[in-house]
């Protein structure tokens, strides 16, 4: 019985209030978005305002470039490994934080720090942890007798050289991603856990279902949509991120052990001046983001219907 069609004057007002936002977003998101497609098939460079369309050359060149193939693989590896770890850890942490205990506020504050502080600044702290000489990790391992003498688990050298060895450098990047995403994922999961009606869990308990049966038959299925949202945001933040890589390794150790699409695009375009190559590389985000957008759209629709 509520209003479906507003009055004409209200429609006009509605339109007028929306115009500034729509114009701004069209100019600074829509237009550049289209431009990045155009750049990707051109020979645009950063210094020269003129460019011409050169077809699919950039893409051909890109596929023959080992750096690109490595970056593409790294991007997916970082994203998927990070998210798998985040989901598992966040679930444990959410189960812990859903209880009440003395000092919960301060625990929550500390646990949220990685999300609430600017990522560039947080990553700076890790630089010290992963320093080639003074790493506190290495110090701890040496004290535990796992590193530094012949026969030790992690080898005889005094340091692990976190950011200088390809495998460890990748692990370091993943570690920082997990560190950063864990709080957000936890908070979303807690919201989901709180939304599960207590009666359902209690009814299952009365019916004699043990912890794991409850987990797999009740909690997880009911949490599924929330886990979906968590994955969505995690993919979005990890897949397109270059800050962590840039600050920790600059894509190294050489040539491109931890390079990701975003940092490679930055390297080619801003540092190398080749806007066209950079645009072609960054367009590889598009299919994944379009997928995320499609899922979000469905969620929005559902949220509107409910």
């Amino acid at each position: 019985m509520r209003s479906g069609r507003p009055f004409h004057r209200d429609s006009l007002t509605a339109f007028a209030l929306l115009v500034p936002v729509v114009v701004y977003l069209a100019a600074f998101i829509g237009f550049p978005f289209v431009m990045s497609f155009i750049y990707s098939i051109s020979n645009a460079t950063i210094g020269d305002p003129h460019f011409s369309i050169t077809g699919l050359n950039n893409f051909r060149e890109m596929f023959h470039d080992a750096a690109f193939r490595t970056s593409l693989a790294n991007t997916f590896i970082f994203t998927f490994v990070s998210i798998a770890l985040v989901i598992v850890l966040a679930h444990i942490l959410a189960e812990l934080l859903i209880r009440d205990f003395p000092g919960k506020w301060i625990a929550r504050f500390l646990l949220m720090l990685p999300w609430t502080t600017p990522i560039a600044l947080g990553t700076i702290g890790f630089l010290w942890f992963m320093d080639s000489v003074y790493s506190p990790f290495d110090w701890l391992l040496r004290k535990l007798g796992l590193l530094g003498s012949p026969g030790d688990l992690f080898g005889p050298m005094s340091n692990l050289y976190w950011l200088a060895r390809p495998g460890l450098a990748m692990a370091s990047v993943i570690l920082v991603h997990v560190w950063r995403l864990l709080p957000l994922a936890t908070v979303i999961l807690i919201a989901g856990l709180n939304a599960i009606p207590r009666e359902i869990v209690e009814a299952a308990q009365i019916d004699g279902a043990g912890y794991f049966r409850r987990l797999f038959h009740i909690t997880l299925p009911l949490l599924f949509p929330v886990i979906g949202v968590t994955v969505l945001f995690s993919v979005f933040f990890t897949f397109t991120d270059m800050t962590v890589v840039w600050i920790l390794t600059r894509g190294g150790p050489p040539p491109h052990a931890t390079q990701v699409l975003a940092s490679l695009a930055f390297l080619k375009s801003i540092q190398g001046g080749d806007l066209a190559q950079g645009a072609a590389i960054s367009l590889f985000f598009f299919p994944v983001l379009a997928g995320i957008a499609a899922i979000v759209l469905r969620l929005v629709k559902k949220a509107v219907v409910v």
Binding site: L17, F33, L111, G125, W139, V187, L289
Partner: protein
């Protein structure tokens, strides 16, 4: 009894591990910023404690011999400008979407939200060209102009769900009590939306402090750098790290942001949480 103690110590043990994981970098920042270089740069010293008496020398260096205060000021200026633009753009748009616009409003709303999903990593290349054409390289105005691209869509969405939570009756009552649409908005809706607006201000500001890629792409001049790129490009020169100052700067800049963000965390998350559909 024993079982409960085991469960309890298991609970606190696991919790402590998680807290150590999350907070350790900040602890290290804190302790490093007050450590003497002689203490800090000895691989055999315990890195988690003071082996020598603490010192203010790094802090002194940071505040007086680096451009850290300039970075902070730049960040603050950009943050304030972006917050103003964001509120001025989002507030009317969100109100329009929540109350006035009919079916087409829903489509525009989803469209605005989708622009949030276009990441800076896709846009910085064409935008750097636009910024160059506008002659704004190395200018804070470049950031002021571009940052609303990621604050406006989300804040519009957030405010929209906030407006929707205000009962329509109250607004209609104001219309009957003598207000025009605009009058009802300013006299009734706006005062009731203050918590939502504050949330948006906090969120937009923290997003600005968080931003890295645009700043890295548009600003090379150290006097115009913001805090994130300032610290990581000016205090790390080749292999020379001003470790104490670097850590101190990171900590000093991040703690205030963390505190205000934490106070508004629940509201921001409920805005993020599309899936629950309970807005």
């Amino acid at each position: 009894m024993l079982k409960r103690m085991v469960t309890k110590s298991g609970f606190y043990g696991t919790l402590t591990l998680f807290i150590a994981f999350s907070a350790m970098p900040f602890y290290i920042m804190l302790i490093t910023m007050f450590k003497r270089n002689h203490d800090l740069l000895n691989p055999d010293n315990n890195p988690f404690i003071f082996n020598e008496p603490p010192t203010l020398q790094h802090l002194n260096l940071l505040l007086h011999q680096t451009q850290f205060p300039v970075f902070l000021l730049n960040t603050l200026l950009v943050g304030l400008a972006v917050v103003c633009i964001t509120v001025l753009l989002s507030l009317p748009a969100a109100y329009s979407l929540a109350r006035l616009a009919g079916n087409w409003g829903g489509i525009v709303g989803v469209g605005i939200f989708l622009t949030y999903l276009v990441p800076p990593t896709l846009l910085f290349i064409p935008l750097s060209r636009i910024i160059a054409d506008l002659g704004l390289q190395n200018s804070l105005w470049a950031l002021v102009l571009v940052y609303p691209t990621f604050t406006v869509p989300f804040c519009t969405w957030l405010l929209m769900s906030f407006f929707k939570s205000i009962p329509r009756d109250i607004e209609e009552q104001a219309l009957i009590d003598g207000c025009s649409r605009l009058g009802a908005f300013f006299r009734i809706i706006l005062p009731l939306s203050v918590p939502g607006i504050i949330t948006v201000i906090v969120f937009a500001f923290t997003l600005v402090v968080n931003e890295y890629i645009y700043a890295l792409a548009f600003i090379q001049e150290s006097g115009s750098k913001t805090i994130g790129i300032g610290l990581t490009t000016e205090l790390i020169r080749g292999d020379v790290f001003y470790w104490g100052a670097l850590m101190g700067g990171a900590l000093l800049a991040s703690i205030p942001v963390a505190v205000i963000y934490t106070l508004f965390l629940d509201k921001i998350i409920s805005g993020l949480n599309l899936g629950s559909g309970r807005q």
